[in-house]
């Protein structure tokens, strides 16, 4: 699993095509041919990642929107981003 932290910033990979189908995002990696589906919460995380890039900003925005403990949201964001990095759907921004 790729190590990411709140200090990490990421951006969508150049190889990813994203569309929302029935309100839930589907990501396609053009290089690997793999689909990756997100539920509604994951879709919101993806939108915030595209907007903010900074994971600390993503977590802050999620905490404003969702009634869940900050530690849980932080854990969920980091876990999702780690998976997205693993699958080549986001890259760590330099």
């Amino acid at each position: 699993m790729t190590e990411v932290s709140l200090q990490t910033a990421v951006r969508a990979s150049d190889d990813v095509v994203v569309r929302e189908l029935d309100g839930e995002a589907v990501l396609l990696n053009l290089a690997s041919g793999m689909y990756f589906g997100l539920d509604s919460v994951g879709t919101r995380m993806w939108q915030l990642i595209e907007r903010h890039r900074s994971l600390s900003a993503v977590v802050a925005a999620m905490c404003d929107e969702f009634d869940a403990p900050a530690a849980t949201i932080e854990q969920d964001v980091l876990r999702l981003v780690s998976q997205l990095v693993e699958k080549g759907l986001v890259v760590v921004a330099r």
């Binding site: 095509v17 569309r19 396609l28 689909y35 589906g37």
Partner: protein, 217 residues
């Protein structure tokens, strides 16, 4: 002119209400409309490269009595790209507006190829199965081809009411299905194969399985 573009990053629709109404009226009158440059150039170039990498296999249309044969793209990245781009909600809403078919919920298609002088023929049919409501055919050929004319005829008269050779790569034709309509594509001629992504807008939702992209079609 109504401008619709399917891009990797987003769908662009630039149509004033009056122009959209003209497009809708043209569809109602002709049972079809052409969508020029539906694919952005980088999408078209990617698709043309990728279909050659994904490869084709022979397909027999068993549901038609003459059992015509053509080549169907194997499941892979090209099909997956079209599945995503054509199911963009903005694009689906555009198609609902033009066709008046508010039940449209998804598009499912397949890339297929007809090679001149290879026995790749078509027959009159209406496609009215599996919740199919309208057809979209996007030209992916590497260069303009000869033949391959879309024809629509009315029943019971058999009168051909629409003919169009969509020979320009990246252009698309959206056309109607109905009990009183049939369509076919005439055989390709010359030396250039006709390669299109063609499929149906349907009344059922579609969502790809997570994992390795198959065509979903």
């Amino acid at each position: 002119m109504t401008m619709v573009r399917l891009g990797f990053r987003q769908t662009w629709i630039d149509a004033a209400a009056m122009e959209l109404e003209r497009t809708r009226a043209r569809f109602e009158r002709d049972h079809a409309v052409v969508l020029p440059d539906l694919l952005e150039p980088d999408v078209l170039a990617f698709a043309q490269r990728q279909v050659e990498l994904d490869g084709f296999e022979e397909r027999v249309h068993d549901q038609l009595s003459s059992r015509p044969v053509d080549l169907r793209l194997k499941p892979g990245v090209a099909s997956a790209v079209f599945m995503l781009l054509t199911n963009d909600e903005q694009f689906l809403e555009f198609v609902r507006c033009v066709t008046g078919l508010r039940d449209i919920r998804s598009f499912r298609g397949v890339v297929h190829r007809r090679v001149p002088n290879a026995g790749h023929d078509d027959a009159w049919h209406n496609d009215l199965v599996d919740g199919r409501l309208a057809v979209l055919s996007i030209n992916l050929s590497s260069e303009p081809y000869d033949g391959g004319v879309l024809q629509i005829r009315e029943l019971p008269s058999g009168r051909i009411v629409y003919e169009f050779a969509n020979t320009r790569p990246g252009d698309a034709v959206l056309f109607a299905l109905g009990d009183g309509l049939q369509h076919r594509v005439t055989p390709p001629e010359g030396r250039v194969a006709r390669t299109v992504c063609a499929g149906w807008f349907r009344d059922q939702a579609v969502r790809p399985s997570v994992g390795l992209a198959d065509s979903g079609y």
